[in-house]
């Protein structure tokens, strides 16, 4: 007998992976797969220029320590570091507008864990540009901007998609990294479970007079949480949750009136404040795909789960999907397994869907508990925060959880 040879269908495939979505998680997966020798075609409906506009649009991310390690393992941290602000401390407080004294209930300090800062803030534009540039200079990655996927057909042997111009692309595995409305999941018949919070996040960046000292603040207000997250210089990112109605009317205000509403919530501990970029609103609903995998298909990032950004975990959870899927695929490939087979994809599903569902549920409970002005609940949570604060071991556990260092870590996040 001759040596076994792969039949021609595999040789005629465009790449090993077809990644629909060139946002943040799609490119991250293409880069992680390339490290394991797995090639990708990354398809995005938008032109590259639209995705990498260099003007600051006000969006930024809290990268957990585990996400930083992953970006370092992908060789991107050097370009990113200059644009990041380490988060040295997180202060969580329970506050009501108009209360004279804000009770500082919880205080997390990264000096308490040996791994370093709990996380890093970075503006969306830097992260996106660095990911897209790295992708374009990688031989194993083909980038197809301005290409919208209109249909897909997977079978036991291969995955394929059709673009709006009629072109058909094939690969071993299809990845849905196409965001919260994931058409890839819909076309595969994967249903979603979701619920709204009746809240909307108002997102913007502000410049302030006094330095923030690398401290992140989370204030729990009756309408919803307000996060103040430090960016490089005297600038912070705001994620301000309000009821849908309040948010709608606040968003309709002029910049000046918007600031006038924000100031009393914010307090004056950073001195005077001013808007540093565009204002966004973001409906706070949770959407979880009922399955993260299908026939020759895996979902990552917002396509798998859109979450309440209360804990800054939206992107971190996506990067964790990417690292876990890359881990499962590369270990499978080393053993000679077909990494697009149901048995291998089941390992990714088992690892990530459980983690995500519990994180989503915890975030949900947290938010419901804190977005409430019931005096009993308020007393209970103040007591809870004081208890956590009083016990160093408990506090360290919370810090490690927020830094993404708990649970089974994928290779890329081990550091």
């Amino acid at each position: 007998m001759d040596n076994p040879v792969r039949v021609s269908i595999l040789q005629s495939m465009n790449s090993d992976l077809l990644i629909v979505g060139g946002g943040l998680n799609g490119p991250a997966l293409a880069l992680a797969a390339a490290q394991a020798g797995i090639s990708s075609t990354v398809i995005d409906a938008l032109p590259t220029q639209t995705r990498t506009r260099n003007d600051f649009d006000g969006r930024s991310y809290a990268l957990a320590l585990a996400s930083k390690r992953m970006l370092a393992a992908l060789g991107l941290w050097k370009q990113l570091e200059a644009h990041t602000q380490p988060m040295q401390e997180i202060k969580v407080s329970d506050g009501r507008v108009g209360d004279a004294e804000v009770f500082l209930g919880l205080h997390f300090n990264s000096a308490e864990i040996e791994e370093g800062p709990m996380g890093y803030m970075i503006e969306d534009r830097y992260l996106r540009t660095v990911l897209l540039d790295a992708m374009d200079s990688n031989d194993l990655i083909t980038h197809k901007p301005e290409s919208r996927v209109v249909s897909q057909a997977n079978n036991a042997s291969q995955a394929s998609v059709t673009l709006q111009d009629g072109a058909v692309l094939t690969a071993r595995l299809l990845i849905g990294a196409d965001g919260r409305q994931s058409g890839t999941a819909q076309r595969a018949g994967i249903q979603r479970t979701g619920w709204g919070y009746g809240q909307t996040a108002l997102v913007c960046a502000i410049d302030h007079e006094k330095p923030h000292g690398g401290v992140a603040h989370q204030f729990f207000m009756p309408a919803g949480p307000l996060a103040i997250l430090p960016l490089p210089g005297n600038r912070s990112s705001i994620v301000w949750s309000e009821t849908e109605e309040n948010a709608k009317s606040i968003n309709a205000l002029s910049d000046e009136d918007y600031l006038a509403v924000l100031r009393p919530r914010f307090g004056n501990f950073l001195g005077d404040i001013d808007l540093a970029g565009a204002r966004y609103t973001y409906p706070l609903n949770l959407t979880l795909a009922n399955s993260f995998v299908g026939e020759r298909l895996a979902l990552v990032g917002d396509a798998a789960h859109g979450m309440h950004p209360i804990a800054g975990q939206g992107l971190n959870a996506g990067l964790r999907d990417v690292a876990a899927l890359a881990h499962v695929m590369s270990h499978a490939a080393r053993r000679g397994e077909d990494y697009a087979s149901p048995q291998v994809l089941a390992r990714y599903q088992q690892w990530r869907r459980f983690d995500t569902a519990s994180l989503a549920a915890a975030t949900d409970v947290f938010n419901r508990l804190f977005s409430n002005d019931n005096p009993l609940l308020r007393a209970a949570r103040d007591f809870g925060m004081a208890a956590v604060n009083a016990v160093p071991e408990l506090r360290r556990t919370f810090i490690r959880e927020a830094a993404g260092l708990t649970g089974e870590l994928p290779d890329l996040m081990r550091g």
Partner: protein, 248 residues
């Protein structure tokens, strides 16, 4: 030999075999226990081969140039990974119905693998020679283990590697493998294993020495009911275990 089937099989038969292959390869189907154990088995097999033949598992086809025999190939759960790693693999099975099923799945996977309806003894009698013989979960089913292992030894080139896994014989393995795997978890079709045929690691090492093989390693496959996965263990060989031996 092996591929005569492809010429004589009619299309409706192919569909039937594909359906049976789907059953073999369904991670939640009848062979779920084997699928769960498979990554662990493959980890052991690939690291032993890489170590013995100085191959780099990070390269694209590390096993290119190696001729491997898989005895009791079933649906091809070990053959396909070996083929993907570049080996020349021959899968044999005494159950004739498994052959076209394995071939159908290999075709869907884009692999061509030489599957044959024959036995280790017949292959040895025909003078076939391999770098590696994979002898996984077979020895507990055979009537005369020493004769069988002698045939395996004859199939190896000098310096060749024999990898053999089986089930230990003690009250725990009885409970786990027979009551647990066959009845409670329905991991393996009922009656697949007879407890009195199980072999302890020491007995297996003695049998291999008598068959002219030199045992070099043994490890346990340990099931973790919390993570629902299998891990290799240096110490716990109480239920499932795997061994490596060399032909001098």
């Amino acid at each position: 030999m092996g591929n005569v089937m492809t010429n004589t099989v009619d299309p409706s038969e192919v569909a039937k075999f594909e359906a049976m292959a789907a059953e073999w390869w369904d991670p939640n189907g009848k062979f779920k226990p084997l699928h769960m154990l498979n990554p662990c088995r493959l980890d052991y097999i690939t690291t032993q081969i890489a170590g013995e033949f100085e191959k780099d598992l990070d390269s694209a086809t590390p096993f290119a140039g190696l001729r491997i025999l898989d005895i009791g190939c079933g649906g091809g759960l070990l053959c396909e990974p070996m083929a993907r790693l570049g080996a020349e693999i021959i899968g044999v099975d005494a159950a004739e119905r498994n052959i076209p099923v394995a071939q159908a799945h290999a075709a869907q996977s884009g692999l061509t693998i030489d599957y044959r309806h024959t036995t280790a003894e017949a292959m040895a009698a025909a003078g076939e020679q391999f770098d590696i013989v994979l002898n996984m979960e077979v020895v507990e089913h055979v009537a005369d283990p020493l004769a069988y292992l002698t045939a395996c030894q004859q199939l190896l080139k000098p310096g060749g590697l024999h990898i053999c896994s089986t089930i230990n014989r003690n009250p725990k393995s009885f409970a786990m493998a027979i009551v647990g795997a066959e009845n409670v978890m329905r991991w393996l079709p009922k009656g697949t294993h007879e407890w009195n045929k199980f072999i302890t690691p020491d007995e297996l090492f003695d049998l291999m020495r008598n068959a002219g093989l030199n045992p070099v390693d043994r490890k346990g496959f340990v099931f973790n009911p919390i993570s629902w996965t299998w891990k290799l263990s240096d110490r716990d060989l109480s239920v499932n275990y795997v061994t490596a031996a060399l032909k001098p």
